[in-house]
Symmetry: C2
Subunit: 345 residues, 2 copies
């Protein structure tokens, strides 16, 4: 019984080892003479990197290898996102957030590391153009394996794409109940990369899969996989939890001695901040609250009590900052006076 609207996901067998300078389009067409217009090729980034010569020579073992590898990682890293033990999650110069910047030592001899393609969207466009020159109108995805937050196991995603729209946008569509669909921009090239991975065995040398029957290919190269890179400023997870927590400690170390410049401080937020530190203040410390102001007085005016009050008030200011409140300190004899405002974020 025929089912309409389905897809096929097909492995390309027999590509063999890819060497720098190899003509990938030629290797793929040779191994898959059955390719058709409208097919989407999901190409493992490693063979793209190899064909493009994105290899770095490193010692085969020993501490020299580790040192060389660390140097390569630093060169591929735009910023460190998170680190735990030997694992570094970094953002690459392309913008991808990946363990070890996607540098790979598998399926390559021990004296080389494989870097990601320098421009995976460009690689996808070039491969697509080379296939078009052979008379094949296909979409191309350059894929790699990535980890993710919150879920165990890795999946393949798209690093580069050409001839296939990266996102399928359902926003503004109306469901059968008359509700407008929201938040449903699907990252279809990542789903296509995942589907391709299912037929590519890591050790059986199937570096290319073909998705047949997906309607998304078009005449234009399109925006590519770069459209899937989220700007760190709009990313709620731009830093690892431990790294962000350390950044918060440094924020406390460098707390500006000025109000935030926003509106008057929310009394509930002030109460929450005082609850955080309440049990830690020196016994006998008097904290009196007026709208937008806290007056903090030590139990006596000994040097020890004044030193302690200075520290305790900085504790209070850190707790206020955690609530989004800015504070400015003034000294009134042996009393510290905090002026509070909402911080401008």
């Amino acid at each position: 019984m025929a089912v309409t609207g389905g897809l096929e996901v097909l492995p390309v067998h027999g590509i063999g080892d890819v060497m720098p300078g190899d003509d990938l389009a030629g290797l793929i067409v040779g191994a898959a003479p059955w390719l058709r217009d409208g097919d989407i090729l999901v190409v493992t980034s490693k063979i793209v990197s190899k064909a493009e010569g994105r290899l770095v020579e490193v010692p085969a073992d020993g501490p020299e290898r580790e040192a060389a590898r660390a140097e390569v990682l630093a060169a591929e890293t735009a910023r460190v996102v998170a680190r735990r033990g030997p694992t570094a999650i970094v953002q690459t110069h392309h913008g991808f957030v990946m363990a070890a910047a996607g540098i790979d030592a598998s399926n390559i001899d021990k004296t080389h590391l494989v870097l990601l393609p320098a421009d995976p969207d460009g690689s996808a466009r070039a491969l697509r153009a080379a296939l078009a020159a052979r008379g094949l109108a296909v979409g191309v995805i350059v894929s790699d394996t990535m980890g993710r937050a919150w879920r165990n196991g890795l999946t393949d995603v798209a690093l580069g794409a050409a001839g296939i729209g990266p996102l399928r946008d359902h926003r503004g569509e109306i469901d059968p109940y008359g509700n407008e669909l929201q938040l449903t921009e699907m990252a279809v090239i990542d789903e296509l990369a995942a589907a391709g991975e299912l037929v590519k065995g890591k050790c059986e040398r199937v570096p290319v899969a073909v998705v047949r029957g997906y309607p998304g290919t078009g005449p234009a190269d399109g925006p590519g996989a770069a459209a899937l890179i989220r700007d760190p400023d709009s990313d709620m997870f731009s830093l690892g939890t431990a790294e962000a927590r350390a950044a918060g400690l440094r924020d406390a170390a460098r707390l500006p001695d000025a109000p935030g410049g926003g509106g008057p401080a929310d009394p509930d937020a002030v109460a929450r901040a005082l609850a955080v530190v309440g049990d830690l203040l020196a016994p006998g410390t008097r904290v009196s609250e007026a709208p937008g102001t806290l007056r903090c007085a030590a139990p006596d005016d000994s040097p020890a009590a004044l030193l302690r009050l200075g520290a305790d008030v900085h504790r209070i200011r850190a707790a206020l900052a955690a609530e989004g409140l800015g504070s400015a300190t003034a000294t009134d004899g042996a009393t510290l006076v905090l002026t509070l405002t909402e911080r401008q974020m």
Copy 2:
């Protein structure tokens, strides 16, 4: 030309609206009489929820609707992971990290919200058993749409699974160059869910896809999608960046006045901490360093200078904590003495 080793991904048309109490196995077999042993069914969680009656009645609009929705969200939330404006990313009681706890108002009339299935692995097992009772030996995945860190666009992943191994483990395998493969546990049920999504149109009522030709099905239900839930303690992204940063500010507010109990403090870490605060200390403050100790003296012994020194030393202590160093404060007249150790994490 026949290609061996491929997959088909087939839509199941004609399932129609699912109502509480409906027999999902019957609906699916009725719509897809072409199902075969070894097929993997990717079933949108929403129809599972509807069949199981996981609906909550809410007002159709107005502030009452928003209040009811907030109450439902709170009930479905085990902990808030991150919040920005109206968006809340939470961990559900199942352990999934999802926007709005996966609560859905689309493809349902305006007076109801759809919750996730209470036990998606259990739902997958029950559906698989019901299909087995009809003579079909298949794998079942219950899927839903999720966002992710770092990448734009959503993908479908597995919330539940039965009869299909959630992870394909390449660890310990040897590549053709003799390198042992590492870090390559593939989350195949997520990739199968993604492949299924490609053929399910959100508005065209195709809530079930079938993956045919994937070799992973077996006689046992297996561990299910619960195996993909990462323990927050081992997750480097268990909190949003802003939330973790605020937690760091609260850490500074509650800094324990005790050394960490680890080994002696790394002098490089001490130097980095002092560099963070160096330009903020009161002019004339004297900081003298000995192994494991910092002595901090105010420029004079006025109350203002002592209050300021107390705050400045708490700044230093927060910067030390950001470097993983614990500190204990002692007062020596008008001088504060910090004892430093590596913190036990």
